[in-house]
Structures are given as C-alpha cells and as structure tokens.
C-alpha cells in the first residue's frame, strides 16, 4: 500500500466512525428545523395552525349559526348591514354584540367568516390533492415511458396551459353549471398541468441516476422502480408547489364564487360574501372588508409557508 493510500484509508475510517456516531436525522425533520429557523416560514405555519384551529372549533367560536336570519330574534331591532358592535369599544351594552356587523340578510358576519374558513381550507386541500394526484401520475407516466405516451400527455397539458387559468376555470364551470363541487373540479383541472410538468422534469432527472439503474439491474419491475425508487425522490419540488398551490386554489375559488360561479348562497364562503355585498363597498364597508381580509390572511399564510418550505428543502441554501 502506498503512502497516499494509507492516508486516505485512515481518513475514511475516521469519517465512517463519525458518521456512525452521528444520530440519523430524517430529511423531513431537518426540513422542519430549517423551516422554523426562518421567520416567514414560522409566521406562515403559525397562521395556518390558527386557521385550522378556527375551522375545527367553528361551532364553539361562532356565536350564531352562519345561516341563521336574525330578524326578530334579538332584543333590539337589527338594522340591515349594521356596523360592527363591540362592547369593549363602547357599543351600547343593550345591543347584542356582533363584532363584524350584520350582513344584507341579517346574519352575523363574524359567524359566517369563522365558518368560511372551513370551506376555504377544504377547497384549498381538495383541489390541490386532486391536482397533485392527477398531475404527478400523468407527469410520472409521461417521463417514465417517454415516446408517444409522453407526447400525448404533455401536449394535452400544453393545451390546458395555453388558456389563462381563471378564464378556463370560468369556461369549465359555465359548462358544468355553477356550484362549489364544479368550481373545485375546474380549478383542479386548470392547475393540474403545472404538477404534471414538474413531475415529468423531476422524474426524467431521477431515472438516470445510478441507484435507479442499480435497482433496474437487480430486476425491479417498472412499477416498483417508479413507485419506490423514482417518485419518492422526485417529490420535493411538488410539495413546495402544492403548498403554494393551496393559496392559489383558495384565491381562484373565491374569485369564482365572487362571480357567482362557485359556492352558492346561503353557504358562508368568503368569495360569495364579497360578491353579494360588492355594491355596498361605501355604505357598509365592513361587509367587504372582513371577507377580503380573511382571504388575504389565508392566502398569505400558505404563501409564506410555501416560501419557507422551498428554502428549507433547497439543498443549495444550506444554513
């Protein structure tokens, strides 16, 4: 053994020893640690947690049923679109407290905003889940098999990407008919190509790597290769895109509802609430302000979280 060989053997022995002594840290654990070390990620995660708590505990937090018309049900006669009444801020104690005011149909706006979080979250998660499952599957198939399958799938995706997304969603809802389910489907369809493309690119890179080739040489079936070797190692960018996608989906769904194509009355959906009171922007600003703020905070939360997650998962941005 040459001198140089000896040195390198000693070095590698020491390294192995160090590695063996080190506690194994999973990718996700490290990611969460890195995410929490960034302020934006921390705030995003905190906001998301708060929104989740509000959504889960809505029946406890909300003082009224979100669909209950309060005409004749309170001691003091309510005025349509009455401004917020908060006792701490000097509102007459005789009057029942409505911290975000009353809407055009004499319903408690605060309760509607609270229950609206359930709808927005379920819209965000269900559309993105649908788009991710569909997109990842299509993208992976396209990349793995290549050839004409790749061509057909990706050209279809190109066609969908050729339309402005909200316009295409409006067209789809116009054909299927308005309603929250159709709006979800429309948004999922228009966002699906982004996931397909990203997955395809990721799979194309990963499938050329040595461990995949090794697995192939060991006789793994194509399904095993795709599901256990390639896909788990291509998912990182998808997770980031999906987190940001939730924000976009919530925004798009609110947009469709604003136009009367999404959630239908009396569902307490933020976009619908904004749309039905849009003419009152000067006479009753609280009716457009609060749903608007609710949408903004939720979207911001997912955007911050998504950005944080991207940074945390990026190997080039080491701490």
């Amino acid at each position: 053994m040459s001198k140089l060989g000896k040195v390198s053997k000693n070095l590698s022995d020491n390294l192995d020893e160090e590695l063996l002594l080190q506690k194994p840290v999973s990718v996700w654990k490290r990611t969460i640690k890195r995410l929490l070390s960034k302020r934006s990620g921390k705030i995003g995660l905190l906001l998301i947690c708060v929104i989740f708590v509000i959504a889960i505990a809505a029946p406890i937090i909300a003082p009224y049923d979100p669909q209950e018309v309060l005409i004749g049900k309170e001691v003091v006669k309510l005025k349509k679109r009455e401004a917020p009444c908060i006792h701490v801020f000097g509102c007459d104690k005789v009057k029942p407290q409505h911290i975000m005011g009353i809407d055009g149909n004499y319903r408690d706006q605060f309760s509607r905003i609270i229950y609206g979080s359930r709808i927005s979250l379920s819209i965000g998660f269900s559309t993105v889940s649908f788009a991710v499952v569909g997109g990842v599957l299509l993208g992976a198939l396209a990349a793995f098999f290549g050839g004409w399958i790749d061509n057909i799938i990706m050209r279809m995706m190109d066609v969908i990407l050729g339309f402005p997304s909200l316009l295409l969603a409006i067209a789809i809802v116009a054909v299927l008919g308005p309603g929250i389910r159709n709006a979800l489907l429309a948004i999922a369809i228009v966002t699906l190509p982004a996931y397909a493309r990203l997955t395809r690119a990721s799979v194309l890179t990963v499938k050329e790597l040595d461990y995949v080739k090794a697995s192939l040489a060991l006789g793994a079936s194509p399904t095993r290769l795709l599901l256990f070797r390639i896909l788990p190692n291509s998912l990182t960018p998808i997770v980031v895109l999906a987190t940001l996608g939730i924000a976009t989906a919530i925004l798009d769904a609110a947009g469709l509802s604003f136009l009367g194509l999404g959630a239908q009355p009396p569902t307490p959906e933020w976009g619908t609430m904004l749309g039905s009171e849009r003419n009152q922007v000067f006479s009753a600003p609280h009716l457009v302000f609060f749903p608007g703020i609710a949408i903004m905070i939720t979207v911001l939360a997912f955007n911050l979280f998504g950005d944080g997650l991207r940074d945390a998962l990026d190997p080039r941005l080491n701490d």
Partner: protein, 533 residues
C-alpha cells in the same frame, strides 16, 4: 324639346304628389277572427287618423300614450324596411335629436330647434349607464352626471341628508311576485301553491328589505290604480296552516326546488340577490322547502320565465306602463300568457269582459271577481309594491321622475349647456316599437313621441302628436286629430300617413316594415290582444 320634357316631368310629379296625398294610408285586418282588438287604422284626413276596434277598448288613450306606439316618418320606415339603421338611429319629432350612440359608453342628443312644444333650455343631453347603484351614486356625487335612476335603498338616507343632492321619489305603481309554473310538479297541485301563499311572511320581506314607503301587496295590482284592489285581500301569514296544507298535498317534509331571478335592479325589487336568499330561508324555515338560488342572465330569464319554462320558483315583477288595471291583470293572466303554466278561464274570462267596459264602477264587480279568482287559484304570490327613487344634483332645476316613463328632460334646467343622465343599462335598440326593456324605452322617448303622453307628475294623459283622441260611445272607434306644423328631425312634416305607417309596422305582421329588432313587437301584441294578418 327640353321645355317639353321639363313640362311633362313637372306634370307627372304634380300627379304623383297629388295621388300620394289623396290616397290616405290604411291598414286593416281581414276580419276580427284573429282575436285582436284592432280592426283597422286609417288616415281619414291629412291630419286625422281613425282607429276602428273589433271590441270596445276604453283604455285606448292610455295605451296610445305609451312609447312603443311612437311615430316616425313613413318615408324613413319604408327606406329602412323597419330594420337596419332604424334600430340605431330613430327619427322622431321629440325635443332631442339623436347625435351619436357610442356603443358601450353613452348616447348623445342635441336640442331640436324646430320642436313644436317647450324647447329645451340647454344644448346637449347625454345618457350614460352603470349597472350598480353604488357606481351611479359615486358618479353623481363626483358631479360627472346630473341625475341617476334607481337609487339603492341603503343610500336613501344618505342622499336625503346630502345638501348637494335632491332626492326624487318615483311613484311608478309596481308589483313584485313570487311565481310558480303550474305545469311542473309539485306546483300543479293548488294546495301546494296555496301553502306557499300562506307560508311566506311578506311583511317581514317588505319591512326588512324594501325602502320606506313600500307596501305589502294586498292584491296583484297596486291600489293606486282604479279597481286594482277590488276584491278580498291576500292571505295572511300562517305557517302552521301552510305546513298542514303542504302535508295534506303529500309533502310533510317539504321538497327540493329552485328559485330563479335576474340580477337587475328594479323599483319592485331593489336587491334581487339578497331578497332571493330571504325567500330561500323563509321557504326552508316555514315550509321545509329546500331551494337552490339560481341567478340567470336577464334576457334568458325573461324569455324562460314568460314562456313558462322555469321549473321552480321565480322572482319577477311589473312596473306600470300606463295607468290602467288592464296593464297589470290582462298582461299577466290572459289566455295567451303561459308564464304561470295553465291559464284559467275563471280569471281571463272575466278580464276579457271587464276590459271592454269604459266605466270604472260598472267594471268593478268583474275585477272583484277576477281578483278573488286569482287569490283562490294562486298562480303566483304577490309580495310587494316597492318604493323607488332617483337623485339629482341640487343645481338642477325641475329635476323630476315621472310615474310613467322616463323624465322629460326638456322641462329640466341644469343651468349649463350639457345635462348628463345615468341609468341602469345600455339600451338594446332605439327602435322602441319592438322593445320592452325599460332602459331602451327611456332613451327612445327623448327622440320619438306617441300620439298622446303622460303628465310629468301623474298618470294623466296629455296631448302630444295628437291634439286629442276621442272615442265613440262604446269605445270601438277612436279618432285622433294630429297636431299641425310638427316637423320631424329630418325636416319632413308630420301627417296622418306617418301615424298609420308607424302603427302598421308594429301591428300588421304582413307589413313590409314589420321587422324590428326581434320581430315580436310584444307591446302591440299584448296590449291589443295580438298582431293582425
């Protein structure tokens, strides 16, 4: 040789001219079997037109004062064939001459200096439009427009207290109703319809969603119209009786349906979306009926509802065109109107007889029986007679809004050269013989005029292009004396032939000028029971 040709030409043109004057225009039906009211319209003199009816029509003067029956030059009708450029560029006798219609933006008129009546005090009239009430009020407050229509009820108080603005109540009689089409289940069962009539708390709707001055409808027709509320008042709210009746009809737990509406602001329905949701919650709470709220495009909604094709509830209303009970009842409950599904002879039989009686007291028992039959059969549920308002800058003198028809702007004085009026929407066309849309009628009536017209502050009928129309004793022959010296905007003079030609283009289906925008000429058909030939 040249002189001989010239003389011949002169003689022939004199002959032609003589023949065109002497041969008074006329239009007539072969006989009265077509079911309509008009038998013939004839120019019985240079300035006299005679309308002969198949059956008595005591409301003729009130109808002849309505904008769709306005007069345009015969030559212009002939040259356009009743279509094409006439849809965008009407030629009338009114105080305002159309200068330009900027599609999607505005309509500009200039003063017609040869107008026969009171001349406008300002040079230009501009009509613009904006769909939402808040938008219109912002424009008014910023001074970019001088008057707006259909103030949102929520803005009533702020406009009243604004020293820069004038609040103008609009006294147009109207009715909002909740309709059902009886050809669809379960509305074919009269018990279901009656249960709905009993199960809607109409006072709650009027008290909480309509501006002050609105009333709960006791009858389909408002009481301000003679014989409008003859007969028994509508059912009182009784949710227990309603539920029992619905259970008896086989729906103890209610049923599923839809409630259709169009998102268009009207005096009878100030906030369509909000009121539709109120109906949704009342139907659910009081009757267990689960309805989905469906908003439709305005044109499609009118087409589907008036043809009886909507399978659920729908919210529609009616603003009076002319001050007569026939305008409410005969339009909605005639034998030819399928909007509530099956038609009922118990109602239209009485109305057909009543419409031929001139004396209001003589007709009262018939209208009493007809209103009672409507209550018994419940083709729809009358809800409210809405109060509505317009607003203007307080610098505008004599700002007004007529109970019937758009403002007469030549009576208004903005104290400057241009007056800008803002309404709900852009007109569909400006050939109003074939329009029913309020926004179209309001822009038309600045340019064209009918034989008679409505007063500025009431439903009284005044002279316009006719000095008057007088009927014979049984109201079957109406003779109108045409005003002399009236000029059209193209410089030609008004005579009896123009009147006959304008009416003929609308009422006679075989007329070469019977083209219009849709070709339906609905008001000719509805108000005179059908088109001839």
């Amino acid at each position: 040789m040249i002189n001989k040709k010239l003389a011949l030409g002169l003689i022939s043109s004199i002959f032609l001219l003589a023949s065109s004057v002497s041969a008074g225009e006329s239009v007539s039906a072969k006989d009265c079997s077509y079911g309509g009211k008009v038998k013939s319209i004839e120019a019985t003199g240079d300035l006299e037109v005679t309308f002969t009816m198949c059956k008595p029509d005591p409301a003729f003067r009130a109808k002849a004062a309505f904008t769709p029956f306005s007069i345009q030059p015969k030559e212009y009708l002939d040259s356009t064939g009743g279509g094409g450029s006439i849809l965008e560029n009407p030629i009338g006798t009114g105080p305002w001459k159309l200068e330009k219609w900027n599609r999607g933006d505005s309509i500009i008129y200039t003063r017609f200096d040869d107008y026969w009546g009171k001349k406008p005090s300002f040079e230009k009239l501009v009509v613009r439009w904006a769909a939402d009430g808040a938008g219109r009020l912002i424009e008014l407050r910023s001074g970019t427009v001088d008057q707006i229509t259909n103030l949102s009820p929520d803005d009533f108080d702020s406009v009243k207290s604004d020293s820069n603005l004038t609040f103008i109540p609009v006294a147009n009689p109207n009715t909002l109703y909740l309709a059902m089409t009886s050809t669809f289940k379960p509305f074919d069962d009269p018990r279901v319809r009656k249960a709905i009539a009993l199960g809607i708390d109409r006072s709650r709707i009027v008290d909480n969603y309509f501006p002050l001055g609105s009333e709960v409808a006791s009858h389909f027709t408002p009481c301000s119209i003679a014989n409008g509320c003859a007969g028994d008042s509508w059912y009182d709210f009784d949710p227990d009786a309603a539920k029992a009746l619905l259970a008896e009809a086989g729906f103890p737990d209610g049923f599923k349906s839809k409630i259709y509406y169009r998102d268009v602001f009207r005096g009878y329905l100030p906030e369509p979306g909000i009121v539709a949701v109120e109906f949704q919650s009342q139907l659910k709470d009081n009757l267990g009926i689960d309805v989905e709220v469906v908003v439709m495009e305005s044109g499609e909604f009118i087409d589907e509802s008036t043809n009886g094709r909507l399978d659920g509830f729908y919210l529609l209303g009616w603003g009076a065109d002319y001050p007569h009970v026939t305008n409410f009842l005969d339009f909605h409950f005639s034998a030819s109107n399928p909007q509530y599904g099956d038609v009922h002879e118990d109602i239209y039989g009485l109305l057909e007889v009543a419409s031929t009686i001139a004396n209001e007291d003589t007709a009262r028992p018939l209208y009493t029986a007809a209103n009672n039959a409507i209550k018994r059969i419940v083709p729809m549920v009358p809800i409210a007679h809405g109060a509505s308002a317009s607003a203007a800058l307080n610098t505008v003198k004599n700002a007004h809004f007529r109970p019937f028809g758009a403002p007469l702007f030549h009576h208004t004085d903005p104290g400057k050269d241009t007056f800008v009026f803002m309404q709900n929407a852009e007109p569909i066309s400006m050939y109003c013989a074939d329009e029913t849309d309020g926004e179209s009628l309001s822009v038309c009536q600045q340019v064209v005029e009918p034989l008679l017209g409505y007063a500025i502050d009431s439903g009284n009928i005044e002279s316009r292009l006719a000095t008057d129309c007088t009927g014979n004793s049984d109201a079957t022959v109406w003779t109108c004396q045409i005003r002399s010296g009236v000029k059209f905007h193209d410089g030609s003079s008004l005579d009896a032939n123009d009147v006959v030609a304008s009416w003929a283009a609308g009422i006679d289906q075989s007329n070469k000028n019977h083209k219009g925008n849709t070709g339906a000429f609905e008001y000719y058909s509805y108000l005179f029971d059908g088109l001839m030939n």
